[in-house]
Amino acid sequence: MFQINKDEKLIEKAMGGSQRSWVNLVKRYEGLVYNYCLRMTFNSSDAMDLMQEVFLATYRNLPSYRGQNQFKGWMMRIAANKTTDFLRSRSRNPLHRAGEVTDESYKIPEHQISQSMHQDPAEDYKEKQKNKQIKKLLDKLPDEQKMVVELKFFQHFTFDEISHQTGTSINTVKTRLYAALNKLKGYSEIQNVM
Protein backbone atom coordinates (compact mmCIF):
# COMPACT_ATOMS: atom_id res chain seq x y z
CA MET A 1 0.00 0.00 0.00
CA PHE A 2 2.87 2.29 0.84
CA GLN A 3 4.42 1.59 -2.51
CA ILE A 4 1.18 2.34 -4.36
CA ASN A 5 0.78 5.61 -2.50
CA LYS A 6 4.33 6.43 -3.40
CA ASP A 7 3.49 5.76 -7.05
CA GLU A 8 0.63 8.22 -6.90
CA LYS A 9 2.83 10.90 -5.37
CA LEU A 10 5.55 10.37 -7.94
CA ILE A 11 3.00 10.56 -10.77
CA GLU A 12 1.56 13.77 -9.36
CA LYS A 13 4.99 15.36 -9.11
CA ALA A 14 6.06 14.10 -12.53
CA MET A 15 2.96 15.67 -14.06
CA GLY A 16 3.95 18.89 -12.33
CA GLY A 17 7.27 18.81 -14.21
CA SER A 18 9.52 17.06 -11.70
CA GLN A 19 12.23 15.18 -13.54
CA ARG A 20 13.44 13.43 -10.43
CA SER A 21 9.99 12.01 -9.67
CA TRP A 22 9.62 10.70 -13.20
CA VAL A 23 13.06 9.09 -13.08
CA ASN A 24 12.20 7.45 -9.74
CA LEU A 25 8.93 6.16 -11.14
CA VAL A 26 10.66 4.77 -14.22
CA LYS A 27 13.35 3.12 -12.11
CA ARG A 28 10.67 1.35 -10.08
CA TYR A 29 9.13 -0.30 -13.12
CA GLU A 30 11.79 -0.40 -15.81
CA GLY A 31 13.09 -3.82 -14.70
CA LEU A 32 9.60 -5.29 -14.84
CA VAL A 33 8.87 -3.76 -18.23
CA TYR A 34 12.28 -4.59 -19.68
CA ASN A 35 12.11 -8.27 -18.71
CA TYR A 36 8.52 -8.43 -19.97
CA CYS A 37 9.67 -6.95 -23.29
CA LEU A 38 12.63 -9.33 -23.35
CA ARG A 39 10.38 -12.37 -23.01
CA MET A 40 8.01 -11.03 -25.64
CA THR A 41 10.59 -10.03 -28.24
CA PHE A 42 13.46 -12.51 -27.57
CA ASN A 43 15.87 -9.75 -28.45
CA SER A 44 17.60 -7.38 -26.04
CA SER A 45 17.80 -4.57 -28.58
CA ASP A 46 14.12 -4.86 -29.49
CA ALA A 47 13.27 -5.14 -25.80
CA MET A 48 15.10 -1.90 -25.12
CA ASP A 49 13.32 -0.10 -27.97
CA LEU A 50 9.97 -1.45 -26.88
CA MET A 51 10.56 -0.49 -23.24
CA GLN A 52 11.39 3.06 -24.27
CA GLU A 53 8.25 3.22 -26.37
CA VAL A 54 6.21 2.01 -23.41
CA PHE A 55 7.59 4.64 -21.06
CA LEU A 56 7.21 7.36 -23.68
CA ALA A 57 3.56 6.39 -24.18
CA THR A 58 3.10 6.16 -20.42
CA TYR A 59 4.45 9.66 -19.94
CA ARG A 60 2.36 11.09 -22.73
CA ASN A 61 -0.76 9.47 -21.35
CA LEU A 62 -0.15 10.42 -17.72
CA PRO A 63 -2.78 13.20 -17.86
CA SER A 64 -5.40 10.55 -18.71
CA TYR A 65 -4.40 8.35 -15.75
CA ARG A 66 -7.29 8.34 -13.34
CA GLY A 67 -5.43 7.15 -10.29
CA GLN A 68 -7.28 4.54 -8.27
CA ASN A 69 -3.94 3.01 -7.27
CA GLN A 70 -3.73 0.93 -10.45
CA PHE A 71 -0.66 2.39 -12.06
CA LYS A 72 1.05 -0.94 -12.70
CA GLY A 73 -2.03 -2.39 -14.40
CA TRP A 74 -2.59 0.81 -16.36
CA MET A 75 1.02 0.90 -17.51
CA MET A 76 0.99 -2.80 -18.41
CA ARG A 77 -2.07 -2.17 -20.56
CA ILE A 78 -0.03 0.38 -22.49
CA ALA A 79 2.81 -2.14 -22.62
CA ALA A 80 0.46 -4.81 -23.98
CA ASN A 81 -0.80 -2.46 -26.70
CA LYS A 82 2.68 -1.38 -27.62
CA THR A 83 3.89 -4.98 -27.67
CA THR A 84 1.05 -6.01 -29.96
CA ASP A 85 1.87 -3.17 -32.36
CA PHE A 86 5.56 -3.93 -32.18
CA LEU A 87 5.20 -7.65 -32.86
CA ARG A 88 2.77 -6.94 -35.68
CA SER A 89 5.14 -4.51 -37.37
CA ARG A 90 8.08 -6.83 -36.83
CA SER A 91 6.24 -9.75 -38.37
CA ARG A 92 5.77 -7.64 -41.50
CA ASN A 93 9.49 -6.99 -41.68
CA PRO A 94 11.02 -9.52 -44.10
CA LEU A 95 14.43 -9.12 -42.50
CA HIS A 96 13.17 -10.44 -39.17
CA ARG A 97 13.70 -14.17 -38.76
CA ALA A 98 10.46 -15.12 -37.07
CA GLY A 99 10.38 -17.93 -34.58
CA GLU A 100 14.07 -18.10 -33.90
CA VAL A 101 15.71 -17.79 -30.53
CA THR A 102 19.38 -17.78 -31.23
CA ASP A 103 22.37 -17.03 -29.11
CA GLU A 104 22.73 -13.85 -31.12
CA SER A 105 19.22 -12.69 -30.29
CA TYR A 106 19.87 -13.35 -26.65
CA LYS A 107 23.21 -11.60 -26.70
CA ILE A 108 23.69 -9.26 -23.78
CA PRO A 109 24.90 -5.84 -24.88
CA GLU A 110 28.52 -5.17 -24.04
CA HIS A 111 27.76 -2.20 -21.83
CA GLN A 112 25.55 -4.49 -19.76
CA ILE A 113 27.97 -7.34 -19.35
CA SER A 114 29.77 -5.82 -16.41
CA GLN A 115 26.45 -5.27 -14.59
CA SER A 116 24.90 -8.65 -15.23
CA MET A 117 27.84 -10.99 -14.94
CA HIS A 118 28.32 -12.96 -11.78
CA GLN A 119 31.65 -13.80 -10.34
CA ASP A 120 31.14 -17.45 -11.27
CA PRO A 121 31.08 -18.07 -15.06
CA ALA A 122 29.25 -21.39 -14.53
CA GLU A 123 26.47 -19.52 -12.74
CA ASP A 124 26.27 -17.07 -15.60
CA TYR A 125 25.95 -19.86 -18.11
CA LYS A 126 23.26 -21.57 -16.08
CA GLU A 127 21.28 -18.39 -15.79
CA LYS A 128 21.59 -17.74 -19.46
CA GLN A 129 20.44 -21.24 -20.30
CA LYS A 130 17.38 -20.98 -18.07
CA ASN A 131 16.26 -17.74 -19.61
CA LYS A 132 16.94 -19.11 -23.05
CA GLN A 133 14.86 -22.20 -22.28
CA ILE A 134 11.95 -20.05 -21.15
CA LYS A 135 12.20 -17.94 -24.25
CA LYS A 136 12.29 -20.99 -26.48
CA LEU A 137 9.19 -22.32 -24.79
CA LEU A 138 7.29 -19.03 -25.15
CA ASP A 139 8.48 -18.74 -28.72
CA LYS A 140 6.34 -21.75 -29.61
CA LEU A 141 3.19 -19.75 -28.92
CA PRO A 142 1.37 -17.26 -31.14
CA ASP A 143 1.74 -13.67 -29.97
CA GLU A 144 -1.71 -13.37 -28.38
CA GLN A 145 -1.32 -16.64 -26.41
CA LYS A 146 2.20 -15.70 -25.41
CA MET A 147 0.92 -12.43 -24.01
CA VAL A 148 -1.76 -14.16 -21.92
CA VAL A 149 0.81 -16.61 -20.52
CA GLU A 150 3.16 -13.74 -19.79
CA LEU A 151 0.53 -11.69 -18.00
CA LYS A 152 -0.86 -14.66 -16.07
CA PHE A 153 2.28 -16.55 -15.01
CA PHE A 154 4.98 -13.91 -15.03
CA GLN A 155 3.02 -10.78 -14.09
CA HIS A 156 0.40 -12.61 -11.96
CA PHE A 157 -2.56 -10.59 -13.16
CA THR A 158 -6.12 -11.85 -12.74
CA PHE A 159 -8.24 -12.81 -15.74
CA ASP A 160 -10.24 -9.63 -15.27
CA GLU A 161 -7.09 -7.50 -15.37
CA ILE A 162 -5.70 -9.38 -18.38
CA SER A 163 -9.01 -8.90 -20.17
CA HIS A 164 -8.83 -5.18 -19.46
CA GLN A 165 -5.22 -4.93 -20.58
CA THR A 166 -5.57 -6.88 -23.81
CA GLY A 167 -8.95 -5.45 -24.67
CA THR A 168 -10.55 -8.87 -25.02
CA SER A 169 -13.26 -10.69 -23.10
CA ILE A 170 -12.47 -12.85 -20.08
CA ASN A 171 -13.64 -15.95 -21.95
CA THR A 172 -11.27 -15.18 -24.81
CA VAL A 173 -8.42 -14.81 -22.33
CA LYS A 174 -9.24 -18.16 -20.73
CA THR A 175 -9.53 -19.84 -24.11
CA ARG A 176 -6.17 -18.46 -25.18
CA LEU A 177 -4.58 -19.61 -21.93
CA TYR A 178 -6.02 -23.10 -22.26
CA ALA A 179 -4.87 -23.31 -25.90
CA ALA A 180 -1.42 -22.12 -24.88
CA LEU A 181 -1.15 -24.72 -22.12
CA ASN A 182 -2.21 -27.47 -24.52
CA LYS A 183 0.33 -26.36 -27.08
CA LEU A 184 3.12 -26.20 -24.49
CA LYS A 185 2.05 -29.59 -23.16
CA GLY A 186 2.67 -31.15 -26.57
CA TYR A 187 6.01 -29.41 -26.84
CA SER A 188 7.05 -30.55 -23.34
CA GLU A 189 6.13 -34.14 -24.19
CA ILE A 190 8.33 -33.99 -27.28
CA GLN A 191 11.15 -32.52 -25.25
CA ASN A 192 10.81 -35.25 -22.62
CA VAL A 193 10.86 -37.97 -25.29
CA MET A 194 14.01 -36.47 -26.83
Partner: protein, 230 residues
Protein backbone atom coordinates in the same frame (compact mmCIF):
# COMPACT_ATOMS: atom_id res chain seq x y z
CA UNK B 1 -19.17 -37.01 -16.36
CA UNK B 2 -17.99 -34.71 -19.14
CA UNK B 3 -15.39 -32.16 -17.92
CA UNK B 4 -15.25 -28.61 -19.34
CA UNK B 5 -11.94 -27.91 -17.55
CA UNK B 6 -13.37 -24.54 -16.51
CA UNK B 7 -12.67 -24.98 -12.81
CA UNK B 8 -9.03 -25.81 -13.40
CA UNK B 9 -8.51 -22.92 -15.84
CA UNK B 10 -10.19 -20.45 -13.49
CA UNK B 11 -8.30 -21.33 -10.33
CA UNK B 12 -5.17 -23.22 -11.31
CA UNK B 13 -2.77 -20.37 -10.46
CA UNK B 14 -4.39 -19.73 -7.10
CA UNK B 15 -4.33 -23.48 -6.44
CA UNK B 16 -0.62 -23.70 -7.22
CA UNK B 17 0.05 -20.70 -4.97
CA UNK B 18 -2.13 -22.12 -2.16
CA UNK B 19 -4.52 -19.19 -2.30
CA UNK B 20 -7.78 -21.17 -2.56
CA UNK B 21 -10.23 -22.04 0.17
CA UNK B 22 -10.26 -25.61 1.53
CA UNK B 23 -13.61 -26.28 -0.16
CA UNK B 24 -12.35 -25.12 -3.54
CA UNK B 25 -9.14 -27.07 -3.05
CA UNK B 26 -11.19 -30.22 -2.48
CA UNK B 27 -13.21 -29.57 -5.63
CA UNK B 28 -10.10 -28.96 -7.70
CA UNK B 29 -8.35 -32.05 -6.46
CA UNK B 30 -11.44 -34.12 -7.18
CA UNK B 31 -11.50 -32.71 -10.71
CA UNK B 32 -7.81 -33.45 -11.17
CA UNK B 33 -8.26 -37.04 -10.09
CA UNK B 34 -11.07 -37.52 -12.61
CA UNK B 35 -9.87 -35.70 -15.76
CA UNK B 36 -6.57 -36.45 -17.49
CA UNK B 37 -6.74 -33.22 -19.53
CA UNK B 38 -7.09 -31.22 -16.34
CA UNK B 39 -4.11 -33.10 -14.91
CA UNK B 40 -2.06 -32.25 -17.99
CA UNK B 41 -3.14 -28.61 -17.74
CA UNK B 42 -2.18 -28.58 -14.08
CA UNK B 43 1.26 -30.09 -14.80
CA UNK B 44 1.91 -27.60 -17.58
CA UNK B 45 0.75 -24.73 -15.38
CA UNK B 46 3.00 -25.92 -12.59
CA UNK B 47 5.91 -26.11 -15.01
CA UNK B 48 5.25 -22.58 -16.24
CA UNK B 49 4.84 -21.38 -12.66
CA UNK B 50 8.23 -22.83 -11.74
CA UNK B 51 9.78 -21.41 -14.89
CA UNK B 52 8.48 -17.97 -14.05
CA UNK B 53 10.37 -18.18 -10.79
CA UNK B 54 13.48 -19.46 -12.54
CA UNK B 55 13.58 -16.49 -14.83
CA UNK B 56 16.71 -14.53 -14.02
CA UNK B 57 15.76 -10.93 -14.14
CA UNK B 58 17.98 -8.98 -16.52
CA UNK B 59 19.42 -5.64 -15.58
CA UNK B 60 18.15 -2.80 -17.69
CA UNK B 61 20.93 -1.24 -19.75
CA UNK B 62 21.69 2.36 -18.94
CA UNK B 63 19.45 4.70 -20.87
CA UNK B 64 18.29 8.27 -20.78
CA UNK B 65 15.06 8.28 -18.87
CA UNK B 66 14.06 11.90 -19.32
CA UNK B 67 15.21 12.98 -22.78
CA UNK B 68 11.78 12.31 -24.26
CA UNK B 69 9.69 13.05 -21.24
CA UNK B 70 9.88 15.79 -18.68
CA UNK B 71 10.52 19.29 -19.76
CA UNK B 72 12.26 21.08 -16.92
CA UNK B 73 10.20 23.97 -15.63
CA UNK B 74 11.58 27.37 -16.57
CA UNK B 75 12.93 28.98 -13.46
CA UNK B 76 12.68 32.71 -13.37
CA UNK B 77 13.95 34.90 -10.65
CA UNK B 78 11.49 37.40 -9.19
CA UNK B 79 13.74 40.35 -9.85
CA UNK B 80 13.88 39.40 -13.51
CA UNK B 81 10.12 39.34 -13.92
CA UNK B 82 9.74 42.61 -11.99
CA UNK B 83 12.52 44.13 -14.03
CA UNK B 84 10.92 43.11 -17.32
CA UNK B 85 7.56 44.45 -16.11
CA UNK B 86 9.09 47.79 -15.16
CA UNK B 87 10.94 48.06 -18.47
CA UNK B 88 7.78 47.26 -20.43
CA UNK B 89 5.80 49.86 -18.47
CA UNK B 90 8.47 52.48 -19.02
CA UNK B 91 8.54 51.76 -22.73
CA UNK B 92 4.76 52.10 -22.95
CA UNK B 93 4.85 55.43 -21.07
CA UNK B 94 7.59 56.72 -23.36
CA UNK B 95 5.44 55.92 -26.38
CA UNK B 96 2.26 57.39 -24.88
CA UNK B 97 3.90 60.68 -23.86
CA UNK B 98 6.01 60.90 -27.00
CA UNK B 99 9.21 61.18 -25.07
CA UNK B 100 12.06 62.54 -27.13
CA UNK B 101 15.72 62.49 -26.25
CA UNK B 102 17.99 64.45 -28.55
CA UNK B 103 21.68 65.04 -28.39
CA UNK B 104 23.09 68.08 -30.12
CA UNK B 105 25.80 70.68 -29.84
CA UNK B 106 24.17 72.11 -26.74
CA UNK B 107 23.92 68.71 -25.02
CA UNK B 108 21.09 66.25 -24.44
CA UNK B 109 17.52 67.55 -24.68
CA UNK B 110 14.54 65.66 -23.28
CA UNK B 111 11.08 66.74 -24.36
CA UNK B 112 7.50 65.46 -24.40
CA UNK B 113 4.74 65.77 -26.96
CA UNK B 114 6.84 65.67 -30.10
CA UNK B 115 6.99 69.50 -30.78
CA UNK B 116 10.71 69.68 -30.65
CA UNK B 117 11.02 66.99 -33.16
CA UNK B 118 8.80 68.91 -35.59
CA UNK B 119 10.83 72.13 -35.25
CA UNK B 120 14.04 70.23 -35.50
CA UNK B 121 12.83 68.42 -38.58
CA UNK B 122 11.85 71.73 -40.22
CA UNK B 123 15.24 73.20 -39.39
CA UNK B 124 16.96 70.16 -40.75
CA UNK B 125 14.86 70.28 -43.90
CA UNK B 126 15.62 73.96 -44.53
CA UNK B 127 19.34 73.34 -43.93
CA UNK B 128 19.22 70.45 -46.31
CA UNK B 129 17.40 72.61 -48.89
CA UNK B 130 20.07 75.34 -48.66
CA UNK B 131 22.80 72.79 -49.03
CA UNK B 132 20.96 71.21 -51.92
CA UNK B 133 20.51 74.60 -53.62
CA UNK B 134 24.18 75.52 -53.33
CA UNK B 135 25.14 72.10 -54.62
CA UNK B 136 22.78 72.50 -57.55
CA UNK B 137 24.18 75.99 -58.33
CA UNK B 138 27.70 74.68 -58.30
CA UNK B 139 26.77 71.82 -60.52
CA UNK B 140 24.89 74.15 -62.87
CA UNK B 141 27.85 76.56 -63.16
CA UNK B 142 30.19 73.73 -63.75
CA UNK B 143 27.98 72.21 -66.43
CA UNK B 144 27.45 75.64 -68.06
CA UNK B 145 31.16 76.45 -68.26
CA UNK B 146 31.87 73.01 -69.62
CA UNK B 147 29.13 73.37 -72.23
CA UNK B 148 30.43 76.83 -73.28
CA UNK B 149 33.93 75.57 -73.68
CA UNK B 150 32.72 72.69 -75.73
CA UNK B 151 30.56 75.01 -77.85
CA UNK B 152 33.52 77.35 -78.49
CA UNK B 153 35.73 74.51 -79.50
CA UNK B 154 33.07 73.19 -81.85
CA UNK B 155 32.50 76.67 -83.36
CA UNK B 156 36.20 77.26 -83.94
CA UNK B 157 36.55 73.91 -85.55
CA UNK B 158 33.58 74.57 -87.84
CA UNK B 159 34.92 78.04 -88.73
CA UNK B 160 38.34 76.64 -89.58
CA UNK B 161 36.76 73.97 -91.70
CA UNK B 162 34.52 76.47 -93.43
CA UNK B 163 37.37 78.89 -94.18
CA UNK B 164 39.47 76.10 -95.55
CA UNK B 165 36.67 74.87 -97.71
CA UNK B 166 35.69 78.40 -98.86
CA UNK B 167 39.26 79.28 -99.87
CA UNK B 168 39.49 76.19 -102.03
CA UNK B 169 36.19 76.98 -103.66
CA UNK B 170 37.25 80.57 -104.40
CA UNK B 171 40.50 79.42 -105.87
CA UNK B 172 38.66 76.97 -108.06
CA UNK B 173 36.19 79.66 -109.10
CA UNK B 174 38.98 82.12 -109.98
CA UNK B 175 40.76 79.44 -111.91
CA UNK B 176 37.56 78.67 -113.76
CA UNK B 177 36.93 82.35 -114.51
CA UNK B 178 40.51 82.91 -115.60
CA UNK B 179 40.41 79.88 -117.85
CA UNK B 180 37.13 81.09 -119.36
CA UNK B 181 38.41 84.59 -119.72
CA UNK B 182 41.63 83.47 -121.38
CA UNK B 183 39.82 81.18 -123.77
CA UNK B 184 37.37 83.97 -124.55
CA UNK B 185 40.25 86.39 -125.03
CA UNK B 186 41.93 83.91 -127.31
CA UNK B 187 38.75 83.52 -129.29
CA UNK B 188 38.26 87.28 -129.45
CA UNK B 189 41.85 87.76 -130.51
CA UNK B 190 41.30 85.28 -133.23
CA UNK B 191 38.18 87.15 -134.40
CA UNK B 192 39.99 90.51 -134.22
CA UNK B 193 42.93 89.12 -136.10
CA UNK B 194 40.61 87.73 -138.64
CA UNK B 195 38.81 91.03 -139.00
CA UNK B 196 42.04 92.93 -139.18
CA UNK B 197 43.17 90.59 -141.87
CA UNK B 198 39.89 91.09 -143.66
CA UNK B 199 40.12 94.85 -143.32
CA UNK B 200 43.69 94.78 -144.47
CA UNK B 201 42.71 92.67 -147.40
CA UNK B 202 39.86 95.03 -148.15
CA UNK B 203 42.15 97.98 -147.79
CA UNK B 204 44.60 96.45 -150.18
CA UNK B 205 41.82 95.69 -152.54
CA UNK B 206 40.53 99.20 -152.10
CA UNK B 207 43.94 100.62 -152.68
CA UNK B 208 44.28 98.50 -155.75
CA UNK B 209 40.87 99.55 -156.89
CA UNK B 210 41.65 103.18 -156.24
CA UNK B 211 44.94 102.80 -158.00
CA UNK B 212 43.23 101.21 -160.93
CA UNK B 213 40.67 103.94 -160.78
CA UNK B 214 43.28 106.51 -160.77
CA UNK B 215 45.08 104.79 -163.61
CA UNK B 216 41.98 104.58 -165.55
CA UNK B 217 40.68 108.08 -164.83
CA UNK B 218 43.83 110.28 -164.44
CA UNK B 219 47.08 110.94 -165.96
CA UNK B 220 50.20 109.32 -165.48
CA UNK B 221 51.71 112.08 -163.30
CA UNK B 222 48.81 112.53 -161.14
CA UNK B 223 48.46 108.85 -160.80
CA UNK B 224 52.11 108.57 -159.73
CA UNK B 225 51.68 111.30 -157.09
CA UNK B 226 48.62 109.65 -155.64
CA UNK B 227 50.31 106.37 -155.46
CA UNK B 228 53.27 107.96 -153.73
CA UNK B 229 50.98 109.66 -151.20
CA UNK B 230 49.48 106.35 -150.46
Amino acid sequence: MLCDHQLIIDHINDYIENKVSPELRTQIEAKLSQCTDCQATYRQSLELYQMSHEWQSQTVPEWHRTSYAVRPPIKRNNWLSWGSLATSSLAILMVVFQLEINSGDTGITISFGGNQAKAQIEEMVSAQLVTYKSDQDKQFQLKLSTALEQQNVRTNLRLANWLEKNRDERQQDIKFVMTGWQSQRYEDQKVVDKRFAYIADNQIENNQAINQLFHSVGNEGSSNSISNDL
